[in-house]
């Protein structure tokens, strides 16, 4: 069906905005998803638009049978490494004799003396027995094996070539003129120099709900296994990352996904820098009411309340996350469990604001969003699931590195055993060490340990478990040291949140600093007197090299700066 007047108007406005204001590439797929029409109609829409605006750059898609002489351009991949020159020494094939050099020859005097005779020996090859053998007489009665030489077949070639206006003529020549199809692939405000630009519209495309629907054109069918309908349904369930929905996915999930998407479009439409949160929220609410009235709106209100602090912390969390690559995984691990329950969501969003690491944002986020907005968005109810999912993935990533290092840690701990797990346990929860104060001499405490073992499936599994163990008072000194060594790492996260919060509103600051207060209090209970900033930092300085846990190796560079600040923040709160 052709487009209605309403649709035409909408898409014309949209095209104007995309091309003139946003100055981005618009592909036919984007248009078809925007209007909800067949791709062929979308191509005609682009064509019409190009006709009216001849200044626009057109990207064409040519397809048809290729001439047998034409060749398509190759792409050199960076992972392939350097291709050796055909004349390089390594390419030297043994049509000529190669002298095999014994590397030890030069030094070894005795061998050197034998050089002459050995050299002859090395020249034995298949060629030697060639003359005067019995090969000649017997060979003729043996037929050579049939069909031994394979000639590569000439096969029909079809080509699909994307090209811009400037090269259209050249590329045209690659095809047999009879079967050539030319279509508009995309419009852009200016010639495209970086091919990566073409990727942007395609990634944006995934935001549209059911963007693979049959109505956009394309091929459908039944998967060879039975129950393909339920199959695709379960598929979209399995991959719950917000914007991604599949052809015949259930309607409910499609609607759910619609909400964030509309919002994104709107936010984007308003322009990249919409600083006032309130207006944004109301806009969101409007859009949501259009789509799904009451329920969602309520949620956004709640979020709006939560938003301000969340924004700050989420943003600040992003920093430790970014540095975490360099710092060891134990540091990461210790910082994570130390978060309170209520902050759980923020933890997930901290991974998110790490650019590129989070697939959910990749699929569901428009490019214009800055990290805080991204984090905020992750909080809308439909996105929470997605972000959980993404966090899972991020965790998977972490697990990889953690597992490796943890094995190492366990090994290292083995001789010293007690102090390191103790430090870990202390980090994890202050409550873990309740048994500590029971008396002098032998004490009992709860220790969190991790064990790596091979399960029945043959996979290496690392499990955390708690166990009680007794320890003598002598070893008390060391654990407490390592505890302090571990602490700055944690406080480092709180500092960065504090320092960043300073840039934001005062309420955020108070919140952030309260976090650091907690930590400082904790510190106080553990380590009798040293409350001042100087005290803690100095203790850190002396203890760190001795600390048995592996992190310190990497910590100094990264955690060095925040450390001073952390105590500063603590200093402020003390006031």
């Amino acid at each position: 069906m052709p487009l209605s007047a309403e649709q035409t108007k909408t898409i014309t406005r949209k095209l104007k905005q995309w091309l003139d204001n946003d100055r981005q590439i618009v592909t036919f797929r984007q248009v078809s998803r925007e209007v909800g029409c067949h791709v062929d109609i979308a191509k005609n829409v682009l064509l019409e638009h190009a006709r009216l605006n001849p200044s626009l750059e057109i990207t064409y898609l040519l397809s048809g049978p290729l001439l047998s002489t034409s060749s398509l351009a190759y792409t050199q991949l960076p992972s392939e490494g350097i291709q050796l020159d055909a004349k390089a020494l390594a390419q030297l094939e043994a049509s000529q004799r190669i002298k095999i050099v014994d590397m030890d020859e030069v030094s070894d005097g005795e061998r050197n003396s034998e050089d002459g005779t050995e050299g002859d020996d090395e020249l034995v090859g298949n060629d030697k027995g060639g003359e005067g053998g019995i090969a000649g007489n017997g060979a003729d009665f043996l037929q050579p094996e049939a069909d031994t030489i394979l000639k590569p077949e000439e096969t029909p070639r079809w080509g699909v070539v994307m090209t811009q206006q400037a090269q259209l003529e050249t590329k045209w020549g690659l095809f047999e003129p009879a079967g050539l199809n030319i279509h508009i692939y995309a419009l852009s405000p200016a010639p495209i120099t970086d091919p990566a630009q073409y990727l942007v519209p395609n990634t944006l495309l995934r935001q549209y709900p059911k963007y693979n629907d049959v109505k956009y054109g394309g091929i459908s069918g039944d998967l060879p296994t039975e129950g393909s309908g339920s199959g695709s349904g379960s598929g979209s369930k399995a991959l719950k990352d917000g914007g991604m929905n599949f052809g015949s996915g259930p309607v409910v999930s499609g609607k759910k996904a619609e909400v964030p998407i509309k919002k994104e479009v709107d936010v984007k439409a308003k322009g990249k820098a919409a600083p006032v949160v309130a207006t944004k929220v109301t806009k969101e609410e409007e859009v949501k009411k259009e789509v799904k009235p009451a329920v969602k709106g309520k949620e956004t209100k709640e979020e709006a309340v939560a938003e301000a602090p969340v924004k700050a912390t989420a943003k600040s969390k992003a920093e430790p996350a970014a540095t975490s690559k360099a710092s060891t995984s134990t540091a990461k691990k210790s910082s994570q469990p130390s978060q309170s329950r209520s902050k759980k969501r923020i933890i997930t969003s901290d991974d998110e604001s790490e650019p590129g690491s989070n697939p959910a944002t990749d699929t569901a986020e428009p490019p214009a969003l800055s990290p805080p907005t991204a984090a905020k968005k992750a909080l809308t109810s439909s996105m929470v699931r997605a972000s959980d999912d993404a966090a899972m993935l991020a965790m998977m990533d972490m697990d990889m590195s953690e597992e490796e290092e943890e094995v190492e840690t366990v090994e290292k701990k083995a001789p010293k055993a007690k102090p390191a797990p103790k430090a870990k346990a202390a980090e994890k929860k202050a409550g873990d060490k309740k048994g500590e104060a029971s008396g002098s001499g032998r004490k009992r405490r709860v220790v969190k340990k991790s064990k790596t073992e091979i399960d029945e499936k043959g996979y290496m599994v690392t499990r955390d478990y708690t166990s009680e163990e007794s320890y003598s008072g002598d070893s008390d000194a060391e654990p407490s040291k390592s505890r302090t060594a571990a602490k700055p790492r944690k406080s480092a996260t709180s500092t960065s949140s504090a320092s960043l919060a300073n840039k934001n509103t005062s309420s955020q600051q108070s919140r952030a600093s309260s976090v650091s207060t907690d930590i400082n209090d904790e510190k106080d209970t553990k380590k009798g007197g040293s409350t001042g900033p100087a005290g803690s930092s100095s203790s850190v300085g002396t203890v760190k090299p001795k600390a048995p846990a592996p992190p310190p190796k990497n910590v100094p560079g990264k955690a060095g700066k925040p450390k001073g600040q952390s105590t500063l923040a603590g200093f402020f709160t003390k006031k």
Partner: protein, 498 residues
């Protein structure tokens, strides 16, 4: 002057449906390639593999050699052991070839060395004129010499590699070498037919396959051909925008969205996609540590730096167009360094969706009545280093003739140390033999007119943009090439290159 193409006609409302074909992972053939993770052990010696290989292939080679040399004057006897060789007696022996190649990297030599210089660039080939061929069995080893060996080496599509079981006819010379008159390998095996189809075993397999295909077509209301698309080296995550665009174009094309009506009709006849290795790409040293600077600042976060997620999206796009996919890992995929590479976890590449099959490398499958043997290409890549010729097609055919698809393992090709099996011995020939990640696209039929095997060398898609389509009914092949516009300013250089 801006060129404007003709507007497209109104799209028809009818939705094109893909043909549905039968599919089986051929468990009886695939099973040896799966390594139970609970049983996995790397304690075993590789010697077992050679032993098993000799024991399994020797009767076949002996029988074939007996037939081949039955008319030779003097009725040369078969010596059961190489050690029994008598000087001057015409006879034939069976054993495993060993190539004594001075250029072949040797770890023992490296260890024993006292003096070191910088390691030179790895050679594309070990081959040199000083190579000596030896034949060994449990008892001993003898050097093979003679005009025949020389001709075999220089022949187009000939040559020998370590680990092949073969029979040689000739006699021992005064110097203790074995003067070879003729060689005999195990020969091309029978084409594979599912065991349940006993009546079709005697040469009627093809008609059976045709019938099946016809049924499929009738069900679809058309009598067109059904195609299987083969792609190797998608190299998702290669950080090369052009490669990614090509992948996107491929997805569009396979989904039937891009290009014209003829593309649509072609695309709608594709029943299955086979990804033959390197769906993901190797990380680039030093490059991947940095954050991707793919887009300008405003549009940065859209691009995923998780190659597996990107691949999952690609696969889900295709699956939602009801295109079933077989994924076979290749050298760049995170599926281990040793053959047989184990299947990529489905969770990693798109979840447990219907239609997504993750197989081993190499792996067998049956699509629409045709048997497919798909490998990531490591086997031929390794054989390539041994042989003077550059005809990979010939090498691929050779592996069928040797009845062993990876003879150079475990010598120069890493494989799992199987304690009591050699899964790479093939008892059957596939209808379609796919080798992924080859430098160029090439194809040929081999094995006679009655039941030919279609050998296809599939090049890296990211590099060449070539997709190979195989017809299930006729085994004919065609290709689709994709090209994306490069960087502005690079074009001049490219043209100069051409």
């Amino acid at each position: 002057m801006v060129y404007l193409p003709e507007p497209l006609p109104e799209p028809s409302t009818s939705v094109l449906k893909r043909p549905v074909t039968t599919y089986s992972s051929l468990p009886e053939l695939s099973k040896p390639f799966y390594i139970d993770p609970a049983q996995r052990s790397y304690k075993h010696q590789y010697a077992n593999i050679y032993f098993v290989r000799l024991v399994e292939l020797r009767p076949i080679v002996e029988q074939r050699a007996g037939e081949r040399w039955s008319h030779v004057r003097g009725k040369p006897p078969l010596l059961p052991r190489i050690l029994n060789l008598q000087r001057g007696q015409l006879c034939y022996i069976v054993g495993t070839t060993y190539m004594d190649m001075p250029l072949k990297p040797n770890v023992l030599e490296d260890m024993a060395r006292d003096h070191w210089i910088a390691v030179p660039a790895a050679r594309p080939k070990f081959y040199s004129a000083q190579d000596a061929v030896q034949l060994e069995d449990e008892s001993g080893r003898v050097r093979l010499v003679g005009e025949k060996m020389k001709r075999e080496r220089d022949r187009e599509g000939g040559g020998l590699v370590t680990g092949v079981i073969m029979a040689v006819l000739g006699m021992e010379t005064s110097s203790g070498d074995f003067e070879v008159i003729d060689l005999c390998f195990a020969g091309l095996p029978e084409i594979y037919r599912p065991p349940s189809d006993a009546p079709y075993l005697n040469g009627k397999g093809k008609s059976k396959a045709k019938e099946e295909a016809m049924e499929v077509d009738v069900a679809n209301g058309s009598s067109e051909k059904t195609w299987v698309a083969v792609v190797s080296g998608l190299s998702v995550g290669a950080q090369e925008a052009l490669a990614d665009i090509k992948v996107q174009m491929l997805v569009d094309w396979l989904r039937g969205e891009s290009a014209g009506p003829s593309d649509l009709i072609d695309g709608s006849r594709i029943a299955r996609l086979v990804l033959a290795g390197n769906s993901l790409s190797n990380p680039v040293k030093g490059e991947d540590d940095r954050q991707i600077k793919r887009f300008n600042a405003t549009s940065k976060p859209v691009y995923s730096s998780h190659p597996t997620r990107t691949l999952a999206l690609v696969l889900s796009d295709l699956l939602s167009s009801s295109l079933p996919i077989n994924v076979v890992p290749g050298p760049a995929d995170p599926a281990g360094a040793t053959l047989p590479q184990q299947p990529l976890p489905k969770v990693m590449i798109g979840g447990k969706r219907e239609g997504l099959e993750s197989g081993t490398n190499p792996s067998w499958s049956e699509i629409g009545g045709r048997s497919f043997l798909t490998t990531g290409g490591q086997t031929v890549d390794d054989i390539f280093k041994y042989l003077p010729s550059s005809s990979r097609l010939g090498m691929a055919r050779r592996t069928l003739e040797w009845r062993h698809i990876a003879p150079t393992a475990p010598d120069t090709l890493w494989i799992y140390p199987f304690p009591d099996a050699d899964p790479f011995i093939i008892q059957h020939r596939p209808d379609v033999y796919i080798l992924g990640n080859q430098p160029e696209y090439e194809t040929a039929l081999t094995g006679g007119d009655e039941d030919p095997t279609r050998i296809i060398l599939v090049p890296s898609f990211a590099k060449t943009g070539v997709v190979v389509l195989v017809c299930l009914e006729t085994l004919e092949v065609k290709t689709v090439g994709f090209e994306a516009p490069g960087w502005k300013g690079e074009e001049k250089k490219e043209e100069a290159d051409e």
